[in-house]
């Protein structure tokens, strides 16, 4: 009886103050959307940079006159290095194809021949991502016979090395600020809806409702508003994801944990916000 009374009163509360509830819902949805947007930007950036960070590739250029057997032998020597995770031979044909994909130019039409030599694309193991370590690996590989040159995006990696963790800290702080703002916005919204209904609280206390019973319907309302707001926010984020995909032709990574985080945040802020707000009207 009491449980259903709480649910019923919570739902009735939303229905009775339809306009205020709708405004509160939209404001919660918008706050959570902003929070979710921040989360997805942070997730996408850290994913992209993290990938660069973790999967460093070296381009190993070799003597173009080597035959298949010599290339296979060199490949084995490269793979034997303890820091190397994977070695791929990029034939001149593949290299040409990649060049065309990246730069959109047909080199053969310009030069009448394929100028690109065969080379190896070497993926370094994840634990070797610091520039100094990579310099050492490059030096080792250069000592191998027939290796002309070893290249990697040294400058970019140096910058990522230098700023990745600082970036993470800054993003974390920004995330905290966005979260605090979201929390305050949601709390304030809930506080205003409860402020408008102080009389119900007063009457419930007068007729002998326990504090838990006074809070119950407001907490139910808070959870409903928080979760519905989060569902709306997730819907908006999905919309942004699709827009992003259609405009930039690149998929935005929006993992399910972001949804769950928003739903949980919505529900939790609904509960805590309602409890704090009602407590103000419960002197003892």
């Amino acid at each position: 009886m009491r449980f259903w009374f709480l649910i019923k009163e919570g739902l009735l509360g939303l229905r009775r103050a339809r306009f205020a509830s709708l405004i509160a819902l939209l404001s919660i949805a918008l706050s959570l959307f902003l929070f979710g947007l921040f989360l997805s930007v942070a997730v996408n950036l850290s994913r992209t940079f993290g990938q660069m960070f973790r999967q460093v590739q070296l381009e190993v250029f070799v003597d173009p006159s080597l035959d298949a057997q010599a290339l296979a032998q060199l490949r084995g020597q490269l793979a034997a290095h303890p820091a190397i995770a994977r070695v791929d031979l990029i034939t001149p044909e593949q290299a040409l194809k990649e060049f065309q994909e990246n730069f959109g130019q047909d080199l053969i039409r310009v030069l009448d021949e394929n100028p690109l030599p065969p080379h190896f694309r070497v993926q370094v193991q994840e634990k070797y991502s610091r520039v100094e370590q990579l310099d050492q690996i490059v030096a080792d590989l250069k000592k191998l016979p027939h290796v002309d040159d070893v290249l990697f995006q040294r400058e970019l990696l140096r910058l990522i090395n230098k700023y990745f963790y600082t970036g993470l800290i800054v993003a974390g702080l920004l995330g905290l600020i966005v979260f605090v703002i979201t929390t305050l916005l949601i709390f304030n919204t809930i506080r205003l809806t409860i402020y408008a209904r102080q009389q119900v609280i007063e009457i419930m206390r007068l007729i002998g409702a326990s504090n838990a019973l006074v809070k119950g319907p407001f907490i139910v309302e808070g959870i409903i508003q928080g979760v519905l707001g989060a569902v709306l926010a997730v819907g908006l984020l999905e919309l942004v994801k699709h827009l992003f995909q259609s405009v930039f032709s690149t998929a935005l990574y929006l993992p399910h944990p972001v949804w769950y985080a928003l739903l949980a945040t919505g529900a939790l802020l609904g509960i805590v916000g309602a409890t704090i707000s009602v407590n103000k009207y419960l002197p003892f």
């Binding site: 009886m1 009389q199 007729i207 409702a209």
Partner: protein, 223 residues
């Protein structure tokens, strides 16, 4: 039943009640009179323990202000009905739901809620208006709804804080008639008012508060 011993109370640093002692017996009808600010409302709030005294003790049935725990206060309030000058009705629900609310919050089973609400609405003469919204009711009818809500849990005492303050003299008398009949059915009534006319017309034991002190007690009301 209600015993108040040497109670003093300050609100926001100002003394509101000083050394007040008072007993109200089972089934009694008592007026508390005094000017505005004399401490009438505070005295009532001490009885339903919306305020706790700084000194002294308030005992309401088995509950004492000195020892009552927070979670016991709702239990006390279920035994004490309270009505106010401004009715304090929920304007977004009808007469039936306003009264039923008092039963629902204490966990009364649904079938009992219906019969008890209809019963108490008959007692206050509003059975036929049970589906009306409060805004469609007159002041007197609203006060009847508030009385019905206060009575529906069968309290042993009804505390009424200026219940006729917003009503015309004729309606005020109707409310007093209702309170008299409630009292005759066994419920004690403690009525705070400064409407001396109704005390003359419906004489009962009267206590006079003046500046937070119990100034006088008139066993048979004022003549």
């Amino acid at each position: 039943m209600i015993e108040i011993y040497n109670v003093s109370l300050s609100l926001e640093g100002k003394p509101v009640l000083q050394d007040v002692s008072l007993q109200i017996n089972k089934g009694e009808f008592v007026y508390v009179i005094g000017k505005s600010g004399a401490g009438k409302t505070s005295l009532l709030r001490l009885i339903y323990m919306d305020l706790l005294p700084d000194r002294g003790n308030v005992i309401v049935e088995k509950f004492s202000s000195a020892t009552i725990k927070r979670r016991q206060i709702p239990l006390l309030r279920r035994k004490v009905g309270v009505v106010f000058q401004d009715f304090k009705l929920l304007m977004d629900r009808n007469v039936f739901d306003n009264v039923a609310f008092a039963l629902q919050v204490v966990g009364t089973p649904r079938r009992k809620v219906r019969s008890q609400v209809l019963n108490v609405l008959s007692r206050v003469g509003l059975h036929h208006k049970r589906y009306h919204m409060p805004e469609k009711l007159s002041g007197g009818e609203r006060q009847r709804v508030a009385i019905a809500r206060a009575l529906v849990n069968e309290p042993f005492v009804l505390l009424a804080d200026e219940p006729t303050g917003n009503l015309d003299p004729e309606t005020a008398e109707e409310i007093l008639d209702l309170l008299e009949s409630i009292n005759q059915a066994g419920t004690a009534v403690l009525l705070a008012t400064h409407n001396y006319e109704i005390i003359r017309k419906y004489p009962h034991r009267t206590v006079v508060l003046d500046g937070g002190r119990l100034a006088r007690e008139l066993p048979d009301g004022i003549s």
